[in-house]
Amino acid sequence: MNRRDILRRSAAAGLLATPAAGLLSGCATAGGGDKNDADTYRGTKSAQNPLGVQEDAPLEVVIFGGGFGEEYAKAHEAMYTEKYPKAKIKHSSTQEISKTLQPRFVDGTPPDVVNNSGSGQIDFNGLVSQNAVADLGELLTAPSLDIPGKTVKDTLLPGAVEVGSYDGKFLVLNYTYTAYGIWHSAKLFADRGWSYAKTWDEHIALCKQIKAAGIAPWTYAGLHPRYMSWPLIATAIKFGGPSVATAIDNLEPNAWKSDAMRTAADAWHQIVKDKYILEGSPGLDHKQSQTAWCQGKAAFISCGSWLESEQKDVTPAGFNMTIAPTPSLGSGDKLPFEAIRGTAGEPFMVPAKARNVAGGLEYFRTMLSRKGAQDFTKKVASLTVVAGATEGVELPYGLTTVVKALDASGANGFNWVYNNFYRKLERNLVDAACGEFFSGRIGPAEFLEQCQKGADSIAQDSSIKKYKRAA
């Protein structure tokens, strides 16, 4: 080997090694330092422009392509460009929010508006604890776009701000207003001469009657059994008062084994024991169980108010799906029968490192205008958190029952947020426990024990940030 060869070879080795070394230092965690102000868009605040939007700044919006589709968002974007004709909007829609956007968060170049929803949702606990979400406080105090004399906050339904708040900071705009209850077909009930039971004993008696008529009283999403945790917890809250929910949300010791939860679990165990659940339900996913219900194979199902639009394609005409609150356990209940779980859902956020944070907030203001909210309700048949935005909009049957139920519930409405604080607790741990309980493999005591074990494991995990909410 002569000298030239050696030189050649080392040159070749260098050719290989240099880019490789460069690549290695470009680690996933190394990117995205702090940005300087020159990179962000900011305009001057004025009465016309309370959020300080730079009118020609581009805005990037990422929508979750789920049950609501993306057309409603395009309409909101059109409203935005109507006001800011020079702004260019980049719109995209995906079902995989976390996988698509995770690299961009790390890189420090996230979009300006993210509809963080669906099964690919990014866990908010992680996002919030990393300060990745912008504070939306300014939005609340800004005047409403088309409701004169009111701030955005004044136009929202009660509870809408609390749901998106972490340690008192409003970070997440939950745009839809969702009621959670027990659904039945008004047509089926009218045909058979049944009426929805207001107390648990009557409910069990009705189940007996329904089963005798050859229909399964209940079905549920066996592969996502957490759907059944909703009526069970609701029953407990109505029995023991809203503090039952606060205790669960704040991960208080033995919150899942409170008297109210125990009484509720014992009551719900009845439908398992007496075999009032459609056979095979534990093997059905949410679509399959909801379809079985729409086909009249079962009388009751637990779901949120998105059910109607989700089942649009398979619901027979005149089915008249109706939501109702969970039955009362007895006269000792702290909340009346009408009380129902109503909460803001469908989360939207502005990433803290977005270049056009002001534009993102302004986009939210557009969504929360009366015009924006009405358009949404018309397009996707779902309520928004904007109070009174359904006026003058013709609603489908199921949604009218939701509006009625929420009206009747009024100030007695309740909610819990542990599923927002600790996604894993509901999605994995309580979910698994519900699966065991409602398929009859474990009894109420073991069910609550398993839920409590899950909550304790979250409480003891120092890598998970804890949040508290006031009663």
Partner: protein
């Protein structure tokens, strides 16, 4: 040739190696680095925590549960797939009865081979969705079949007692076809005279398979074994789509655990990387082990 060597290497070898380093090696190395941090995945902040993630992992019941399931898969999927694959390939190659000396496959062998290969043509996602419907507890094919013979059907994917075995069956089903073709191709390379001689000596089909075919196919079987072992340690797509680890974690596998930790119910990328590193070493050891244990004399036909 001497002068033409370097241009050749630079143009044809360097680009693929660079791509490989960039897209395969560097992420692996990064995973090792990330596994020693508490990175939560949505900011650039990651604090080194040493081996804390691995310590947590050691005490994580859900990880152990997933590993246990992977171990069962590792024990059963390769064996079942290879046994079935060998059986079908043998039947296709020499299962026919055509006189004492003739060595032919069963009638319609080409059709069978095509049918066995079907699952290989479908994407894994389609297979998962297809079987989800087959396992539908009320109107699924399987339920209907069991009801038809008058037996009560379980809820298949809805029952922890059956869900795991249902998924395992799909894993075997979706793999067998490929190995039938692989073994079939290897068998066709075995000289016919050997089989004719064996037949003349009066060996039964089973003896032929065990004493003659299998030793001659050993290399191929070994490769199949390594592939299937790696598949069994992963199993992610089928499990995630069919059950997502449920009910009550009965079908959980380590790949699902890793995915769920990073992209599912949490955003613990550091911890998920630690799971990935463990998976890396497990897969590596299984591959090396099965190659070592299976080492035998190579037979060459002249």
């Amino acid at each position: 040739m001497k002068h033409g060597k370097w241009p050749l290497i630079v143009t044809f070898l360097v680009p693929p190696v660079l791509l490989y380093v960039f897209f395969v090696v560097s992420p692996y190395l990064q995973a090792f680095q990330i596994s020693t941090t508490d990175w939560l995945g949505y900011s650039a902040d990651a604090n080194p925590v040493g081996l804390a993630n691995f310590k947590t992992l050691w005490h994580d019941d859900y990880v152990w549960n997933a590993l246990k399931n992977n171990a069962i898969l590792l024990g059963l999927v390769p064996v079942l797939t290879i046994v079935l694959g060998l059986f079908f390939a043998t039947m296709l190659a020499m299962g026919g009865r055509k006189g004492r000396a003739g060595v032919t496959g069963v009638r319609g062998g080409a059709l069978y081979r095509t049918v066995y290969f079907f699952p290989q043509v479908l994407s894994v996602v389609i297979i998962a969705l297809l079987w989800k419907e087959v396992y539908h507890p009320n109107q699924g094919l399987l339920t209907a079949a069991v009801h038809a013979v008058g037996l009560p059907a379980p809820t298949w994917l809805g029952d922890p007692a059956t869900a795991f075995w249902c998924v395992l069956a799909v894993m075997v089903w979706s793999n067998v076809g490929f190995y039938v073709v692989l073994f079939g191709a290897a068998m066709s390379a075995v000289p016919k005279e050997i089989y004719e001689a064996v037949l003349l000596d009066g060996a039964s089909r089973f003896t032929t398979l065990r004493r003659v075919t299998l030793p001659l196919l050993w290399d191929t079987v070994q490769v199949a074994w390594v592939y299937l072992a790696i598949f069994a340690l992963d199993g992610f797509i089928l499990v995630q789509l069919m059950t997502n680890g449920g009910p009550n974690f009965s079908t959980d596998v380590i790949g699902v655990r890793m995915y769920d930790t990073a992209f599912g119910s949490e955003t613990k990328f550091g911890y998920a990387s630690a799971i990935g590193v463990v998976m890396f070493f497990l897969t590596l050891s299984v591959a090396v082990l099965s190659l070592r244990v299976g080492r035998r004399e190579r037979i060459e036909y002249s």
